[in-house]
Symmetry: C2
Subunit: 392 residues, 2 copies
């Protein structure tokens, strides 16, 4: 993988609200959520019921991953009345055990995802936990809830005068809102992509307020009302803890490789980038591999460059800087750029990553925007945000 | 999750071969493989064929995740002749495309996993890549290959006078061998747990030499020889890149929380630990969460303790050290231990984590062994392996 996707950071600069609370720290765009996830309350339906019903509660709606938003920088939250047609007014009335027992694979389940409590605001309380609750609801029209979802979409658009904004790349949300959207999108995406069980092939259902999927042992599909549910074959995910039941969070590395003389950055371009665009190298961690090993492996595979020690940032090996694109055919090009060239690219007019570049600027280096980890990594190196390399 | 599983490290001490090459670095047991994965060659069947057939090639066999081993500290590698009954002598003869076209869901596919090249040894060469090839083969008897797998198991045990050693905890492999075993086990485990497609529920097949699973568009199951394969319904994983096709590497955090006065370590005990056993807290990262946020969230949820800045190691917030087990019901206990108590536990007689403790030592703190990240984290704090906290 060669483009820098905002995901698990190796390193980035200091630009979030967390920095003010905890000191300078790695916190990239799409992390740094203001919400307390209180993850241990996701199975507590008394809590979820109360949170869902409270007037201070905010619901973020996503249609095919596009959030309801006033514009590209402002998410729109709605109230439970706006979505009741789809979710009902008490989707957490049954206990989780009861929900699993009443599983019917022929009925599409609307995903009502609990995101957390915003402790900066007051109003809602449950035991010692305080703060305004946030949920996300998937309103993508599909399956047996297609018509209900469509009616919710039309109603909220009309009532609030807003629309579902496509394209995460276009979002210019502030950091806390971006983190809320990232959490909602990642979980709704995971639910949508995993309707079936990887262990046995049967349909799964969403529990733990959208954060877990189980493979029920019975199914009411096709059974007349009041009848006994059909027993399903045994499934390995029902024995012990199975990671198939939990969201995927694929760890990636994104790296700014510095030449051994400390003057140049190694950047690469994917085969489908428009002319002039370059970014930091990146890739996925493999099983049984440390973060540092993944950085060295992906850099060598994609560019042929041999990387030395990796901790926060680190230079290439003195004799290992020769670029070789012949290993992994993924990149179209990789080049060493001087810090000055990178600094110049940082100051250039902002165009969307991959968009056409204005006339007169087409022969210059173009790099991803400030919201990208790739950009923050480059800034950390060429602007010295993180100071000299640590001695440890 | 409260026990420290050897997985993605937050931090650990300096004890691997990599340290000598790249300087002091985080590299835990089960990472630090001596093999070059040359991951871009996994689709190159000319390469895989040549590697499989070469006399220098080593095959590691796993039966239900237990490796063939001489004893708990020595893996046994076999030759292609030992496994030919199960895999054939040219399992990579067809191209990947041909393999996918001849997919038959009624036939159990033996997983032949390419691990990498050991560049410390010479003999095998392919283009500019040199080193002895390593493969792992899953010989667990199951499905249509049950009898063949059993015969391989019996033959290798008799021929080599060794057995399949159960229980990863009992292994005292040296670090490079442990990393090879970890890679093999993780990938064979992932293949075994994902026989079905999470996107459409149909059976999947293993490609890329064991490192990718695809959902073929056709199936020869039940079709007479020479007949046209059955077309399967459309599947979302066939459009674009789907992470469902790739191995899961669930990122976890494991943290040594230091009291604000710098004298004590926070340790917890799971509900099923035998008396006296404690370990560092740990947990899984959630979507849209940075590593540091996961450390703070899991620590607060499990112990009630509020953690400040997290980079390499970092102290608890001065007024946040009160332990509260009432949030997440996962831990039975959590306690602050002085550095001296932890040092004493490090020097105590080694018993397996969770095993009975010798008479006379039962009232002392017991911690996981040196191969555990939990232990290395504690050592990093109380033995000062990493020096003072970095200034960045």
């Amino acid at each position: 993988m060669s483009t820098a996707i905002p995901d698990l950071p190796v390193l980035a600069a200091d630009d979030s609200m967390l920095s003010r609370k905890f000191g300078r720290e790695v916190a990239n765009y799409f992390s740094g959520s203001p919400l307390n996830r209180v993850s241990f309350l996701r199975t507590d339906h008394a809590f979820l019921n109360a949170a869902f019903a409270h007037p201070s509660t905010s619901f973020l709606l996503l249609d095919n991953y596009s959030p309801l938003a006033k514009d590209t920088s402002t998410l729109t939250y709605v109230s439970k009345e706006d979505i009741a047609v789809l979710t009902g007014l008490d989707p957490f009335k049954k206990t989780e055990e009861e929900q699993i027992k009443s599983f019917n694979s022929a009925i599409t389940q609307p995903i009502v995802l609990f995101l957390g409590l915003d402790e900066r605001k007051t109003g809602f309380e449950y035991r010692e936990y305080k703060g305004n609750p946030y949920f996300a609801v998937d309103v993508t029209p599909k399956g047996s809830i297609e018509e209900k979802a469509k009616s919710v979409i039309e109603a909220v658009k009309a009532k609030h005068g807003v629309s579902f904004t496509p394209g995460a790349r276009l979002l210019t949300l502030n950091a806390p809102e971006a983190a809320i959207y990232a959490q909602a999108r990642a979980l709704l995406d995971w639910n949508a992509r995993n309707p079936f069980c990887g262990g046995c092939g049967e349909r799964t259902m969403s529990i733990n307020a959208g954060t877990k999927r189980v493979c029920p042992s019975t199914d009411l599909a096709g059974i007349p009302e009041g009848g006994e549910p059909k027993k399903r074959a045994d499934c390995p995910t029902r024995h012990g803890v199975s990671n198939l039941c939990f969201p995927r969070t694929d760890p990636t590395v994104i790296m700014a490789i510095v030449s051994s003389d400390g003057t140049k950055l190694l950047l690469g371009r994917g085969k489908r980038y428009p002319p002039g665009w370059y970014s930091t190298l990146a890739g996925f961690l493999e099983p049984g591999e440390s973060i540092e090993e993944a950085v060295r492996r992906e850099t060598w595979e994609e560019s042929g460059v041999h990387v030395g020690r990796v901790i926060i940032h680190r230079q290439a090996l003195p004799n290992g800087e020769t670029i070789n694109l012949g290993n992994d055919p993924e990149l179209e090009d990789a080049k060493w750029y001087t810090f000055d060239e990178v600094r110049e690219a940082m100051g250039m007019s902002t165009v969307g990553f991959g968009d056409a570049v204005p006339e007169g600027e087409q022969r210059k280096l173009r790099i991803p925007p400030q919201t990208a980890i790739a950009n923050r990594l480059m800034a950390a190196v060429v602007e010295g945000y993180l100071g000299p390399p640590p001695k440890i």
